[in-house]
Amino acid sequence: MWYQAKLALYESATRFLTGLARLLPGIVALVAALLTSVFLAWIIAKIVRWILSGLHFDEKLTHWGFASLADLSPLNSPARLVSRTVAGLVIIAGGLIGLAAVDVESTTLLVRSFFGYMPNILAAILVLFIGTVVARFVARSVLIGAVNMNFQYARLLSNGVKWLVIVLTVAMALEHLRVGPVIVQLAFGILFGGIVLALALSVGLNSKELVTKSLDHEASPTTNATIEEPFHHI
């Protein structure tokens, strides 16, 4: 019996050590691949940043009308954002290569499903990016227009519009990622409707005077504004 127990222990230790010995080169390869990819990512990021700086990418982007992109970038530099994105992609590629060295079968499956899902991720990122830029642009347009029209709730209106666009964008991005589509649709409906209702209520309650003035103006087109105020801009 003692012999049999010794044999079982010996076999289990052998199996474990053999498995470990089989896995060890893969783990070493994973670490090596990760270290190499980090080093490569650092070099490539440096080169990309150097090239973009040489091309005056940040200034050109501002000239092309994407000034707001700087606010979303690290240290207000879109060139840095691009270089860091490239570096991130290199590190992810290195990680996948390393994983393939550990376990070919499951990693191939993982890589296949990852690359299958990649278009969804890219589309979601693109939707989020465009949505954020559009939200900021529209919010600023509404803010300036509302201030020029002497609306006391200009900031509220601008924030409301911004969040409407952002909620719509996030819902679209999640739809692309196929994350809980039913919940997303429901949540989006509730949030969107809620924001619209809140805006309508706040604007409606604040603009009683404005509506009265507007109705007076419609009723009598020879309004006091044109008679009493002598100012002419052009």
Binding site: S68, R140, I144, N148, E228, E229, H232, H233, I234
Partner: protein, 419 residues
Amino acid sequence: MEVDLERERVQEKIEQTDKADLVVGIVAEIDQAGIEVLVESLRNFPGVPRIVVLQKGLSTKSPATAAEGSGKDAAKDASLAVLPWPLELGAAATPVEIISEAYRSVFAASDKLEARACCIVASTLESATAQWICQLLRPLLQEDFDFVAAHYARRTFGGLLNYSIVYPLTRCLYGKRIYNPMGPDLGVSRRLYQRLLWANGNTRPGNGRIHPLASFAPMALCRSLKVGQVHVAARVDTPTDWTNVGPLMSSVLGPLFVDMEINASCWQRTRGSTLVPEFGLPLPVSREPGKVDIGRMVETFRLGIRDLREIWGAVLPPSSVFELTKLARMTPEQFRLPEDLWARIIFDFALAHRLRTINRNHLLPSLAPLYLAWVASYAREMDAGATQAERIIDRVALAFEAGKPYFISRWRWPDRFNP
């Protein structure tokens, strides 16, 4: 489709017409009797130049075009022809766009007819339109001037955007005191309109970088052409639309700032300002009837300080934002925007326009509350009755001239020179 056919018919008529000395484009709403008086005055113009009048709103199919309707003599008179003038305009065209398109169209016709000069009548004046059109034409045809601007009789609260920004900026940049540099009623020589046509090339309306209204005066001044101005009656103003001040700032100041960029090498060499030759007798400043209420304008400015601080902070130096914050705390009775601060604000906005610090579609409308603050300050000073309108406008223009070194420094070294 109808407009295209109409244009083709007009093109045919222009091609049938012999060469002309002068082309007059009429965009303003002038009644038939007014047109007849104008045609009669032009026929009696000294030297009997051959004149073509393009009138907006006429139809080639109309049995009573102005030429026929202006009397049998005019029909017989080969030296004068009145043609209909269909303008290609979008439904949402602003007054500035309409006049710009009118200029482009009249240049093309003038070029075809090899006219020595052309002029646009875009305003309805309070008195004797025919007389002042002839006054505008005289320096062009008789004294070989290249650019003749109308100097409208001042009204206390009329043309405020011109007198607060366009006039002082043009005066300080190019060194000549042209009171209405953007017209819209202007006379232009062949030399000048051809330059503008060449500069614009064959681009579609609105696509070209050169904007006729904003570009005439700078182009003439930078090329040392002969420039003058004619005293005429006050313009009949359209009612003010207070909800439209932002777009107005964009349509007027956008082309002006673009032109500054184009002529940067020219205006950086100029210091001070001088008068240009003037024709006719100046008319006194008249005060409009009506109550002056600056409350709404001050309120808009305060809203701007509260909500647009982020945008203004990106455009203006901290010292200017601080002074504006102090101004917002003043009561309407104390409200006064100093001229030097106003000049620096305009210079900083011009620089931000050039550098695209923020999107241009946001930049110029965001200037509207500041402009209304200037109008409120001006109106309060006028209402106090202590100062004359002309003196205030002159003070503003001098502040712009005094601030020019600041502007040049910021223009040349926007990052290094930021007080």
